[in-house]
């Protein structure tokens, strides 16, 4: 299975919103509501932002929201802040024998 497709990079000014897409297939994103998103600041440990498409772990600001339509999941960051500058990865369940399929990653720059 190929990695899920994400835009390589996105940018926005402080206060704006950015939406990162994550495109898969009918075997993964389109089939299961088990899409998660991770924020990764280079040199640090990835952090779970969203799970099961739209759910936020405790402590994650509600500026981060997730959604899904057909084979594409999305992460929206509202009210962009300087500390949101990081790499973002989606990840989908793709069945018992492929529980994790990561996206290609998106670098978000805050202008």
């Amino acid at each position: 299975q190929s990695a899920l497709t994400q835009p390589r990079s996105l940018s926005g000014s402080p206060g704006q919103s950015v939406t990162i897409s994550c495109t898969g297939t009918t075997s993964d994103v389109g089939r299961y509501n088990f899409v998660s998103w991770y924020q990764h600041h280079p040199g640090k440990v990835p952090k779970l932002l969203i799970f099961e498409v739209y759910k936020r772990p405790s402590g994650v600001p509600d500026r981060f929201s997730g959604s899904k339509s057909d084979n594409t999941a999305s992460l929206t960051i509202s009210g962009l802040q300087a500390e949101d500058e990081a790499d973002y990865y989606c990840c989908s369940y793709a069945g018992t024998y492929t529980p994790y399929l990561f996206g290609t990653g998106t670098e978000v720059t805050v202008l």
């Binding site: 998660s36 990865y89 018992t96 529980p99 994790y100």
Partner: protein
């Protein structure tokens, strides 16, 4: 406090074997699977393998099946990732990860990574 304590950085030559480790603490070990995620320099995250706490169940990404072996020692609360013959392309940062022992649970915690460098 939940911790996934990974073994230290390694420098190896092509063809050598290697086993890296990840000790879980601060949580009920039997309630979580442990796995490994690779990140090559300048590249994205790649899920490699995952194992149940007892070791009775394993899953491998097709990209890594046959290339690495995941194992666990429940008595030590430790998971391992092993190579029989390293290649330069195995040079990467390897994250130990945890997920609840429930089907389709997300990875909810990451270790700090073990850097593996393979060079002649």
């Amino acid at each position: 406090e939940v911790q996934l304590l990974q073994s230290g950085a390694e420098v190896k030559k092509p063809g050598e074997s290697l086993k890296i480790s990840c000790e879980g603490s601060g949580y009920r070990f039997s309630g979580y699977w442990l796995g490994w995620v690779r990140q090559r320099p300048g590249k994205g995250l790649e899920w490699m393998a995952i194992i149940s706490p007892s070791g009775s169940d394993t899953r491998y990404s097709p990209s890594f099946e046959g290339q690495v072996t995941i194992s666990v020692d429940e008595s030590l609360s430790t998971a391992f990732l092993q190579w029989r013959s390293l290649q330069a392309s195995d040079s990467a940062l390897y994250y130990c990860v945890r997920r609840l022992a429930v089907t389709a649970s997300p990875i909810d915690f990451w270790g700090h990574g073990t850097l593996v460098t393979v060079s002649s």
